[in-house]
Every structure is written in structure tokens, then in C-alpha cells.
């Protein structure tokens, strides 16, 4: 089939081009190392080289970084970047407002992971905005935490949020509470707060594990508005089942951009969007090529253009 041959040559040259492009990107600061790393024995020798397998990751990081910077500059220069509606986030204001009307506190659960999880660090950034809003409304904000390191971050975030609102007096140190490092003991403590202090809004944003269902069920029984958000896929089903609003997966990482509409953050989200579109395109191209050569792949031919294309994403080790 002539068309097949043409396609194969196009794909081949494309992938070689892509390969050398990514290689060029690499050489901006680094040179690609051909020798096996095991043969390098001197400590710093090869410090400027990179392992073959990791080139696609480097390209992804650099690509994302570039796109992010460009989008951020455009956004700061006044380019309008719209952001789609996220229902769960519109509900945040409503939930805090309802708490204020009812004169009851807002409960913020930053997940149960330690600071080593980026979702936890991100939860601290969201906490700052929530603290700002509750301080503006004059509603008490209770933050139970599971880890002592997270506690220090949470205290800073709430303090800063109150400062942002111009109400430093709204910060109550006793409301950022360390409960326990034990997962289920922590969970029991939070359930206790839900029952005793009857918060009208439960915001559960962060990294959750098996306790998610206990928290969500208890919160439902106390009649609070519940907004949950996590990028942890296992716990999403339980939040979707038991909470009023759920912020799903990547939406979680768009929260601060959505709440502040700050150009820098919007630029970051735009960067992620473009990267995602590139990923989708790559998947489509990959699937098309793989399907065209499926007969050869099935008989174990590893020299098809598909494999050269796949090499761009998952190169063999040196």
C-alpha cells in the first residue's frame, strides 16, 4: 500500500524530528548521555547529562514551564482568560454565607496527609482564601489537623487570611486544632467537632483516605452543607455520594485561580490546559499509528513507526 509507506516515512521523519527537537531542548542546558550511567564512577562526572528515560519528563516539565510563563505574561498584559464554572466553588460562598446567617462556625478539613503531599500544601493556599472570607463575614473557622507540621502551616495560613481581610483580631489560635496522628482517632475527633459544635458548612479539601466516608456521612447527619474536593481518585466516589458538592480531580488545583482570578494563576491553568490538549493530540496520533500497524505489532515486530513514536514518550533505558 503506497499510502501506508508514505505515512510510515512521514511518521518516521516526524519522530526523528521530534526526537532531535527534544534532544536539542535537552542540550540547552544539558547534553544527552549515551553511555550507561553505571560506567560513570567519578562523583560529579556526568552532572550535566540526563538519563534517556527521563528526557520526555524533562521535555514535559520545560514545555509546561514555557507555556505557563507565556500565558502568565499574556494574562498580566491584560489578555482575558475565561475560566469555566465549577459548581462546587460557587457553593463555597453560599456555604460560608449560610453559616454566617445561622451564626454557626465553618469547618475546614485539610485532608489527612502530611506536608509532603502537594495537595496538602495546596489546601493551605485555599485555606488562606477561606480564612479571608470567614474573617470578612466574622464567622468562626475551625481547622482540625492530623499532623503537627501541617498544623504550623495551617496556623500561618489562617493568620495570613485574617490579615488579608484586614481583621487580624479574627484569628483564634485555639481553632486550629491538632487532634491526633492516628488516622481513625483523628477522624473520631472531627466527627466529635461536627456533633458538638454543629458547623453549618463542612469544607473538606485535600488528600483523603478511608476516613472520607465517615466524615462525609457524619457531616450529612448533622445537616451541614458539604463541599468536598480532592484529586485522590479513590475517595471521590464517596464524596460524590455523600456530599452536596464535589470538586473533582484537576478542578481541585484550579481552586485558587477560580477564587482570586489572579492573572498569574489563570496563566498557570491555561498552561495546564494547553499541555492537556497536547497530551490528547499525542494520544490520538499514537492510537492512529498503532492501529495502522496493529498487524505488525501483534506478530511482535518492534521496528514499526509506532514504536519510534512511542519512544518519544517512553524511551528505552540507555
Amino acid at each position: 500500500m503506497p499510502s501506508m509507506a508514505l505515512l510510515s516515512s512521514i511518521v518516521d521523519s516526524l519522530s526523528t524530528l521530534g526526537w532531535s527537537l527534544s534532544a536539542k531542548l535537552g542540550t540547552l542546558a544539558l547534553t544527552i548521555q549515551d553511555a550507561a550511567p553505571a560506567s560513570v564512577e567519578e562523583g560529579w562526572e556526568g552532572w550535566h547529562t540526563i538519563e534517556n528515560q527521563k528526557i520526555p519528563t524533562l521535555v514535559a516539565v520545560v514545555f509546561f514551564g514555557l507555556v505557563m510563563f507565556i500565558a502568565q505574561r499574556q494574562a498580566k498584559a491584560g489578555k482575558d482568560i475565561p475560566i469555566r464554572r465549577i459548581a462546587g466553588l460557587d457553593a463555597l460562598d453560599e456555604a460560608i454565607g449560610r453559616s454566617t446567617e445561622m451564626g454557626r462556625p465553618v469547618l475546614y478539613v485539610p485532608g489527612i496527609d502530611e506536608i509532603k503531599e502537594i495537595q496538602t500544601i495546596y489546601s493551605m493556599m485555599i485555606l488562606r482564601h477561606v480564612a479571608k472570607k470567614t474573617a470578612e463575614f466574622g464567622t468562626p473557622l475551625i481547622v482540625p489537623v492530623k499532623d503537627s507540621v501541617v498544623m504550623t502551616f495551617a496556623e500561618e495560613a489562617v493568620k495570613q487570611g485574617c490579615l488579608d481581610a484586614g481583621r487580624p483580631d479574627a484569628f483564634i489560635p485555639d481553632n486550629v486544632r491538632y487532634l491526633s496522628n492516628e488516622q481513625f482517632a483523628y477522624c473520631a475527633g472531627v466527627a466529635g467537632i461536627m456533633n458538638r459544635e454543629k458547623p453549618a458548612a463542612n469544607l473538606m479539601l485535600g488528600m483523603f483516605f478511608a476516613e472520607s466516608l465517615i466524615l462525609a456521612e457524619t457531616g450529612f447527619a448533622t445537616g451541614a452543607i458539604q463541599v468536598a474536593g480532592t484529586a485522590k481518585q479513590h475517595q471521590l466516589p464517596f464524596f460524590v455520594a455523600a456530599c452536596d458538592y464535589t470538586i473533582i480531580g484537576e478542578e481541585y488545583f484550579a481552586v485558587t485561580a477560580y477564587l482570586t482570578r489572579e492573572p498569574g494563576l489563570l496563566g498557570t491553568i491555561r498552561g495546564a490546559d494547553i499541555t492537556k490538549i497536547v497530551a490528547i493530540a499525542a494520544i490520538v496520533i499514537g492510537v492512529v499509528i498503532a492501529t495502522m500497524y496493529s498487524a505488525e505489532i501483534a506478530v511482535g515486530n518492534t521496528e514499526t513507526p509506532f514504536q519510534s513514536f512511542l519512544q518519544l514518550f517512553a524511551p528505552k533505558s540507555n
Binding site: E51, M125, A241, N318
Partner: protein, 218 residues
């Protein structure tokens, strides 16, 4: 300076680890290893902050005769009793041969293990009540949630043979379940995993490059 030095440390450590990830140089492994060991040390040391907080709050409640104070006393007794026994075993105090762990093992198997496992097993009850409440065919989305959930539940277990059409139900549900898990579920999972990875990349890059500072107060 209160903010600049920490940001500088974030950027330096972040770049060092990022470099160590990409570089095959032997030294990168040493740098990586050392920084990770630091992280482990800080994490373990920070545990002291947690214990001191727990003890402080418990003592406060005991001294102010909070309604639950006897339980707090129990908590402190168990905590310090276990800590003392453990430390004695690790360091060989009170004539106990150092490095033994039979006493810790006793407490572990008779107290810690049953409590943790039972707490966790409470979820068997909660998951049933959550399913009962949430799985209603209110909308297209909710109906799909319900159907997929029920199918997977049936497909996971053998159907008792006295049920009408047990073989057919068993066979069909296993196949549908397999299809849902291996293809539809895998697609949804992949999308969430990739989205979360992008979010992590975005946030991580902003932190490592020192652009994102809002987690540190001014």
C-alpha cells in the same frame, strides 16, 4: 529576611532534588539520599510537636475537670506506659535486654491491632448506609453511578446457585464488571490521574521556582 531565606531554601532544595531526578551522576544520588534523609529526620522530630500538643491539651482538660477528663487520664497513662516500655526495650533499661520487642509486641497485638482493625471495619456499616442513601435514580449521572456500582458488586462475588438464572447472572455480571473495570473505569482513572499529575506539576513547579509563596505568611 523572615521570608526570603525560607524561599531561598525551598528553591535550592527543590532544584537539587529535581536535578538529582534527571542526572545519572553518582553525586546526584548522594545529594538526593542526604536530602531525603533530612526530610525523614525532620518528619520524625516534628512528631514531638504533636505529642507535646496532645499532652498539653489533655492536661488542660484534666485540670479544668472537663466532663471527659477520666478518659484523658487513661489516654496519658496508655501513652506514657507504652512509651516507657518501648524505650526500655530499645535501650535495654531496667534489666531488659536491649533490642527485645516482646513487650511491645504484646501491647501491639492485644490493644493496637484489634482497635485499628475494628475502627476500620466500621466502614462496612457506613458504606451500606451511604449506598442506601445516595444510590437513587434521580438523574442520568446518578443512575449510571448506581448501575455501575451494583454491577461491580454482583460481579465480584459468586452467586448462590438457588437464585433464578444464577449462572446467567453470575456470568453476565462478571463480564460486564470486567468490561467496566478494565475499560471505562480505566479511562476515568487515567483521566483523573493525568489531571492530578498536571495539577501537581503546575503547583510543584510554582513552588520550586519560588513563584508560589502564599503558603508562607508575610
Amino acid at each position: 529576611m523572615k521570608r526570603e531565606i525560607p524561599i531561598l531554601l525551598v528553591v535550592l532544595c527543590g532544584l537539587a532534588i529535581t536535578w538529582a531526578f534527571f542526572s545519572p551522576a553518582p553525586m546526584s544520588r548522594a545529594v538526593n539520599d542526604e536530602l531525603l534523609a533530612w526530610g525523614t529526620v525532620f518528619f520524625s522530630v516534628a512528631f514531638l510537636l504533636g505529642i507535646s500538643n496532645l499532652v498539653r491539651i489533655s492536661l488542660k482538660q484534666i485540670s479544668s475537670r472537663h466532663p471527659d477528663w477520666p478518659y484523658k487520664l487513661l489516654l496519658l497513662l496508655v501513652l506514657f506506659g507504652y512509651l516507657l516500655i518501648g524505650a526500655a526495650e530499645i535501650h535495654g533499661w531496667f534489666g531488659i535486654p536491649g533490642g527485645e520487642n516482646i513487650r511491645r509486641d504484646w501491647i501491639y497485638k492485644r490493644i493496637f491491632m484489634p482497635l485499628q482493625a475494628t475502627m476500620f471495619s466500621l466502614l462496612a456499616f457506613y458504606i451500606a448506609s451511604a449506598a442506601f442513601r445516595a444510590f437513587r435514580a434521580r438523574s442520568l449521572e446518578a443512575t449510571l453511578l448506581l448501575t455501575a456500582g451494583a454491577l461491580v458488586m454482583i460481579g465480584q462475588v459468586p452467586i448462590p446457585s438457588f437464585f433464578p438464572f444464577a449462572d446467567w447472572i453470575g456470568d453476565t455480571s462478571v463480564r460486564l464488571q470486567g468490561f467496566l473495570m478494565a475499560y471505562v473505569n480505566a479511562a476515568g482513572q487515567k483521566a483523573i490521574i493525568m489531571g492530578a499529575a498536571l495539577g501537581t506539576l503546575a503547583t510543584g513547579l510554582r513552588i520550586v521556582l519560588g513563584i508560589e509563596r502564599s503558603y508562607l505568611s508575610e
